[in-house]
């Protein structure tokens, strides 16, 4: 049921790529990416990390109000999103920046949210990437409902819901597991277990490894080494295929680590040891793929240089984009409360405009 047996299964879960950059054989989740694919995965991780660093920097400079860093989770996100077909739909939480980029989202969409310019107002249908969801766990039900809709349509598409280790404690997430199981919905529950829910470590949220939760609801749960981009890709692909075949949901626990603070408002030195962070640094997801690329001669220095330059270019684009963002006109406040006219909103808009006009006159 758990599908996590086999040679390449470690305490960190299914593994295809060891921290030292060597490949690990796994009977169940073997994939054989071409050198070009490997380079592309590496490139996406580098871009994601650079994007994220820029987010932190911009927050420090006062350009953004907040930034939740994905540092350390690049492989989990880049690997999993790479498994999706174009029409598959993603329901993210709030830290899935690499998933967003992987879906082709405008790199400025997320900074706009964290600048407070909007609440993250992209069109979920454009890149099949739903809105960021800040109420922990809520989106797992939306993902389940969306998957149900796809199944009703007879579509071959599937859905991936992203959430954290802490989120598994929420009733909504259990309800989503159960609804998905009962209806056999084509949804993959992708839990990034980054070991921390703000200051609370796993053992404050759960008594058992999180992937085991799925068994109690009647579907497979697999732990995957979340810092191994190949394993994340392979296991997500496997789970999506199950979903497409009508075999219902899968829970993937990507075992990874939040290398940074919870958000820029957080001070992790208050609750965790530097030694723990150092231990995980040795498992860096980028480093291990870089090692593989070098060991197998799949990438040359020019590639690494070009990738770094692409990261800088992305960062520059974000930096400039953020700095030149304008605050929306306050009258838009009233624009999209309802899709159809609502007398109270209309009345308040008019009063607001009259007030502004009078104020402008006086001032």
């Amino acid at each position: 049921m758990t599908g996590d047996a086999g040679a390449g299964t470690t305490a960190d879960g299914v593994r295809l790529l060891a921290p030292d950059g060597t490949r690990v054989a796994h009977p169940e989740y073997a994939i054989d990416p071409s050198p070009a694919e490997l380079r592309s995965l590496y490139r996406d991780m580098v871009l994601a990390r650079r994007f994220d660093t820029e987010g932190v920097t911009l927050q420090r400079q006062g350009e953004l109000g907040l930034w939740p860093s994905l540092l350390g989770q690049e492989a989990a996100q880049v690997g999993s999103v790479r498994a999706l077909a174009e029409d598959d739909h993603v329901f993210p939480s709030y830290r899935e920046h690499a998933v967003a980029l992987g879906r082709g989202m405008d790199p400025l969409a997320i900074p706009r949210l964290f600048r407070g310019v909007d609440h993250g107002d992209w069109d979920p249908q454009e890149h099949h990437f739903h809105l960021y969801t800040l109420v922990i766990g809520s989106q797992t039900l939306h993902a389940t409902g969306y998957a149900l809709g796809l199944a009703k349509d007879g579509s071959a598409s599937a859905v991936v819901a992203y959430f954290g280790d802490g989120a598994t404690a929420q009733g909504d997430v259990s309800e989503a597991f159960n609804f998905a199981a009962v209806y056999g919905a084509p949804v993959v529950f992708f839990c990034q277990n980054n070991q921390w829910a703000i200051s609370e470590s796993n053992e404050k949220q759960t008594r058992v490894p999180l992937h085991q939760r799925a068994q109690g609801f009647g579907f497979p749960g697999v732990r995957v080494d979340g810092n191994d981009v190949l394993a994340c890709l392979a296991v997500t692909r496997w789970a999506l295929e199950r979903a497409r075949r009508g075999e219902g949901p899968t829970l993937i626990e990507a075992y990874t680590y939040r290398m940074g603070a919870h958000t820029t408002s957080d001070d992790p030195t208050r609750y965790r040891d530097a030694a723990e962070v150092d231990g995980w640094r040795a498992k860096d997801p980028l480093l291990r793929l870089e090692r593989l690329l070098r060991a197998e001669g799949a990438a040359d220095e020019a590639f690494f240089a070009e990738t770094e330059a692409a990261g800088e270019a992305l960062a520059a684009e974000v930096r400039e984009g953020v700095r030149s963002m304008t605050t929306p006109d306050e009258r838009h406040l009233f624009d999209h409360v309802y899709a159809e006219p609502h007398a109270l909103v209309d009345e308040e808009r008019e009063a607001f405009e009259a007030y502004r006009a009078a104020f402008a006159q006086e001032g």
Partner: protein
Amino acid sequence: MTTTTTTPAGAGERMTLVAALNASLRAVLAEDPKTLLMGEDIGRLGGVFRVTDGLQKDFGEHRVMDTPLAESGIVGTAIGLALSGYRPVVEIQFDGFVFPAYDQIVTQLAKMHARSRGKVRLPVVIRIPYGGGIGAVEHHSESPEALFAHVPGLRVMSPATPSDAYWMLQEAVRSEDPVVFLEPKRRYYEKGEVDTRPAARPGPATARVVREGTDLTLVAYGPMVATCLNAAAVAAGEGHELEVVDLRSISPIDFDTVARSVRRTGRLVVAHEAPVFFGAGAEIAARIQERCFYHLEAPVLRVGGYHTPYPPSRLEDEYLPGLDRVLDAVDRALAA
């Protein structure tokens, strides 16, 4: 507890409020293949009040879905279904059981349209049998309308008659906005005339003067409309002509109609079953004293539930604002 299940076809057929809701759901299911019903026991059982009677048989399990017993799950998956292009009509079994879904309703359903600045629409209807008066056990007689009306992004409606039930539910289902649709369960088996012909379809439900009068305006909605009409009949016998307004929509409230009436009558009493404190009567009193300050000849009075949990059923007649309590408020307002 059995109801008429045949689709009414002609004009002016008399049917119960439950039958009208059933016919309304049948109409929307037939009209739009994207419409879905979801809820506990709505399939073979037809719902504990039989509002969905026969619909699963006729439209299939994929259109009329029995769900697991989890209200947050129901509303949360309904949101997902709406995102994927469906129009779910959710049944909450009783008023007191909507609260596990409150988070999904308040933080997601109500806000996603605004969050996306209009890119996402969530045409989800949440049907809730509400209110007291049926001798039920705890949690089966609540009136939670204020808890939804205060939340921007939701529409809140409550029909008082079979005809309004028939048409307003269709309006709710066709609306591009989420609607909390409150069904006055103690009126479920009262009959009224319903003209189901498409040509009879009215415009959006605004407040309606259901009885004209000159001496005082009595505002109500849902189950209290009939009570207020009775009160007006009694008052007429005592020489007082009360104008009765059925709000029909609780968010938004059609204050224009209420104000127009109050400007003529100079007096206003608002009645609802929910506790008075922070209830709909507060909003109406506040708004009308502002709009009609110089027309009011007496303070706006409110009649409603007390600031106590809904009592055991043997005491509910004391708790519910009945004819006498409405008349008492009317008398006080007329005396002022």
